[in-house]
Assembly symmetry: C2
Homo-oligomer: 421 residues x 2
């Protein structure tokens, strides 16, 4: 890392200038950089964890919530996880240069659709400092330049991680230092400047709360993919295997309630309101989940609080669950189309036609059949780590791995053909 | 078409409501609708051409340029072209339901990436009334609802075309009338309302001049793909086949200078400045092309006017050509990275390494080797017609055919797996 603080525009310009050089590096060079980065992160574990301890102490002193402090913390397990994630990315296939499809036209011109790097990828993120290393690694692997803008809370940690990454990069001559940069300015203005760096940033992914997303939607002039909210549903169909239904409902709500792929509303076919629902609500309640239900739910399980319209709209990110009894799969689909946030949705059913219709009509990055919404995750998809989870329909949907950091160009090979129209 | 004028919000709401129904129609039903639409357009040829004659007469009276009047005109050949385009689209493979890729994870969950309709596709376009039928057909084929907003100049024609399309749609019970709608309000406010119909429009493609594009970039809150300018280059390398170089240069400039895939700047390797360049400039001048050149060009071909910085930036869309002599392919790539509009770029060379490097480093939807930029066109790519030509990197690039009107959803099949993290 440079000793002098660079302005956002300097960082962006340096990234855009380095982009052409980084884009054409062969896979083996990029992998050498990744392995050097992983080694350097391991060598620097001590200064990184020391910087992190300072960040965490400052956050605690400032009264930051324990959830956020937990996300901020880099313990030995997470440090090992970071270098291991970088090595995993080194081992994945390089999407760059892949020919997605191609064909020859009657006049003999050959059209190839070729994956290539986007150019410069920026990520604005909060708390979790392992994102610094993960995004850097995903960008190096895909031949993109990374511009990272972490939160002020994690600044000391991010600087220490970046120093390690830069040491790794410096070991491979062909890789310019500007391939991975940290915006060393935690101000709101710096974030705004990044959102408006049109012509320099080819993709901006905001990873954070609703306030950050709203700011990006209001201000960004650069291309963005939104990693948005997760108001996720599990629908238990009349044809559900009851054991799977129970397992999925409990897993989706309780395995990690603070993340975006956790279930927020359970939709239950009316046929199961009497037989199955009370049992699973007993189990959920025993695990500490606060239950809010509609009238039918409360009739069958009177301990439930009353659910209102607001509950259908709320992403609790906590041990709270809204529960609604619906007439059939169509009603569940309508509910999800209205209240869902296009992130991850699930159905439990043994009926193949119901499952297919649900997967077709529910708008979400990922739709799960007979398994948990918690699998909406780059690692679980086999992507190593993720750059984010897209909740939009254009460019990328659901967990974004390496391919989401590429674009597809039409490369057309002729032999002197000209167009006579 | 309904007799009462619907507001933009009514049109958008009706489209969004019909979207789920249209999305799951089988290919054979959609193809029946397309064939009925093509038949109806043929049956209605007379009233359509009569309405068009009124539009053209009004445009002429208002002093509209002859180029625009030409684009507005629907003669018998273009009418036949429209119904034939709709039939071609009926004959193309349906991208919806295609599994782009898929894999099984070690825990047994099966991940499928499945193409599906975007939902509601809106197009704001100018003059050319055949776009009305073409976009409607592309949307029907891909299970999307179309919201069409033509220009006031073409309003009578668009209404007549829409009446025919609706007659075709009405022949197939399963297809709702709201699948294809015309915004019957040519005001600027209506266009702005469409750009801001967030939650109703899944994709907006503006097809028009720089003013429309700027308005969309400034105002749109809905997802957009920009069909932008075409400041296209042809670079003639030292290793070029001279005959191919001449053919491509002349074709790219003169075959249809008013369209976005026409060449605007010719870049020539210095080795050819003396031997090849004067001859091709003679030919171009003989075809009526006004030549603007840099100093070296003017030394070798003194009839050239002086080219300035502005010329490198200009999309003439006319029989005018800027010409620059460059030191090598790297200099040509740098010029195009600086001035190009990411539309269509070409190189003429017999050297495979030079060609590969050019195709990798030039930022464009399509890069052509030894053939003309004029092939950047949905029809020439084999897409039937195009919804537009994307000049952005996200979602779609270059000529947009049926696949560009789809999105890819992760559909994940399990058998009760839950995540233990």
């Amino acid at each position: 890392m440079t000793a002098t603080i660079q302005s956002v525009s300097e960082v962006c310009r340096a990234a855009a200038e380095a982009a052409a050089e980084v884009a054409v590096l062969p896979t083996q060079t990029k992998n050498r950089v990744l392995l050097a980065m992983a080694d350097a992160v391991e060598r620097h574990a001590e200064p990184i964890m020391k910087a992190n301890a300072d960040d965490v102490a400052a956050a605690r002193a400032a009264g930051v919530s324990s959830t956020l402090c937990d996300r901020l913390t880099l313990n030995e397990r997470r440090m090992a996880g970071l270098s291991s994630a970088i090595r995993t990315i080194a081992g994945l296939p390089d999407p760059v240069g892949a020919i997605v499809t191609g064909w020859t036209r009657p006049n003999g011109i050959l059209i190839q659709q070729v994956r290539e790097p986007l150019g410069v990828v920026a990520v604005i993120y909060e708390a979790r400092p392992n994102v610094t290393g993960e995004v850097a690694a995903l960008c190096v692997k895909t031949g993109n330049c990374a511009v990272l803008r972490g939160s002020s809370m994690a600044m000391a940690t991010n600087r220490a991680v970046m120093a390690a990454l830069q040491e790794g990069i410096a070991e491979v001559d062909e890789m310019p230092a500007a391939a991975v940069q940290l915006v060393d300015d935690p101000s709101r203005d710096a974030a705004l400047e990044l959102m408006r760096a049109k012509g320099y940033i080819d993709l901006l992914v905001p990873r954070g709360g609703p306030e950050l997303i709203a700011s990006v939607e209001a201000n960004a002039t650069v291309p963005t993919v939104i990693d948005g909210a997760g108001n996720c549903h599990v629908y238990i169909d009349t044809a559900a295997d009851r054991r799977i239904a129970t397992d999925v409902a409990i897993n989706a709500k309780t395995s990690r309630p603070s993340v975006c792929n956790a279930m927020e509303t359970l939709l239950v076919h009316r046929d199961l309101a009497h037989d199955w629902l009370p049992g699973v609500l007993d189990e959920l309640a025993a695990l500490g989940v606060r239950i809010k239900g509609d009238e039918t739910v409360r009739r069958h399980w009177p301990r439930a609080e009353e659910a209102t319209e607001t509950d259908w709209e709320t992403e609790y990110l906590d041990l709270v669950l809204a529960v609604r009894v619906v007439d059939d799969a169509e009603a569940a689909i309508r509910h999800i189309r209205r209240y869902g946030s296009a992130n991850a949705e699930a159905i439990v059913t043994a009926d193949i036609q119901t499952a297919r219709r649900f997967t077709q009509l529910v708008d979400a990055g990922s739709v799960f059949v007979n398994t948990s919404t918690r699998y909406s995750d780059g690692g679980e998809f086999g992507y190593g780590v993720e750059i984010g989870v897209s909740t939009q329909k254009l460019h990328a949907r659901g967990p974004m791995g390496l391919a989401a950091l590429t674009t597809v160009k039409n490369v057309v090979w002729g032999s002197g053909q000209i167009r006579i129209v």
